[in-house]
Symmetry: C2
Subunit: 169 residues, 2 copies
């Protein structure tokens, strides 16, 4: 299973691709899509959508994972984030990919095993888990973290399904 | 010039198409795209995007107009609105249409000639200006209002351009 994690933002949208082979996680690629505040909003959203579409077409992931957002600094920044997040989700939908959302707590727990881990700890664990030579750019690292979270959750779900569930036999 | 006004929302996205022929405004069509809160977010955004894409392909507007949003009730509702607004803008961008944004004040002034007009007054003026048999559904009416605003602004911009600007002769 190949997972595309996305960390959307109006200025910088991080993405990270990993592959789960049995219990191993392989890093495939990651990057950050940046747009300029001076560009018209439609163009900026178009850039994010087209870039993500190219990543999806090029790397053929089988699932998309994004972080659930419950809080934002204020309504204005939430609206901007929403624009970017909407087109990111749409890129997955328009390529017929299942989209999974995870809370920040789930992502931290999956990556560091500790829900209150700080940003640096997560970045370092993403680097170690994926055997990266150095810490990825911040937004790309966040995207890889949510992809790892999905890989773990999918593993658990598969084990539950495979055993017929906790009450099976 | 044929203008598609859009009033995005996560539950209901209104759209309204008008044509400006000289000084006349003709109503072409309007509608509301609804999605259910129980559907996955990706599906809901996909529905909005695909429906708007179909409207654009079918009616071939030459411009898209949306209301600028500065305020929302709270960060959470702003994020939801942002998702819908992002894919609406993307639908215009992906069909190579210029996108114009207008403040609520500009829309009210253009439609009613009075920036503090209430919702009912705007709906009734939209009905009169476009010779509709009855008031359109609320979200569709809002979409038609921003389309009318764009028709007026485009007219003014054309007159300024045609005269060579305010200081010309």
């Amino acid at each position: 299973m190949r997972i595309l994690g996305i960390d959307p933002g109006s200025r910088a949208t991080g993405w990270g691709l990993i592959e789960k082979q049995g219990n191993r996680l392989l890093h495939i690629d990651n990057g950050v899509i940046t747009t300029r505040a001076s560009e018209p909003l439609g163009d900026r959203l178009g850039t994010i959508y087209q870039h993500l579409s190219k990543v999806i077409t090029g790397y053929a992931p089988t699932a998309v994972a994004v972080e659930e957002i419950f809080m934002a600094k204020n309504a204005r920044s939430a609206l901007k984030l929403g624009h970017a997040r909407g087109v990111a989700l749409l890129a997955g939908f328009n390529h017929d990919l299942p989209i999974a959302e995870y809370s920040a707590l789930q992502v931290k727990s999956a990556v560091v095993g500790y829900g209150r881990a700080d940003k640096k700890q997560i970045q370092e664990m993403v680097r170690i888990l994926l055997k990266l030579p150095e810490i990825a750019q911040e937004d790309a690292s966040d995207a890889l973290a949510v992809a790892i979270c999905h890989a773990h959750s999918a593993g658990i779900n598969q084990r539950i399904a495979g055993s017929g569930g906790p009450n099976s036999r």
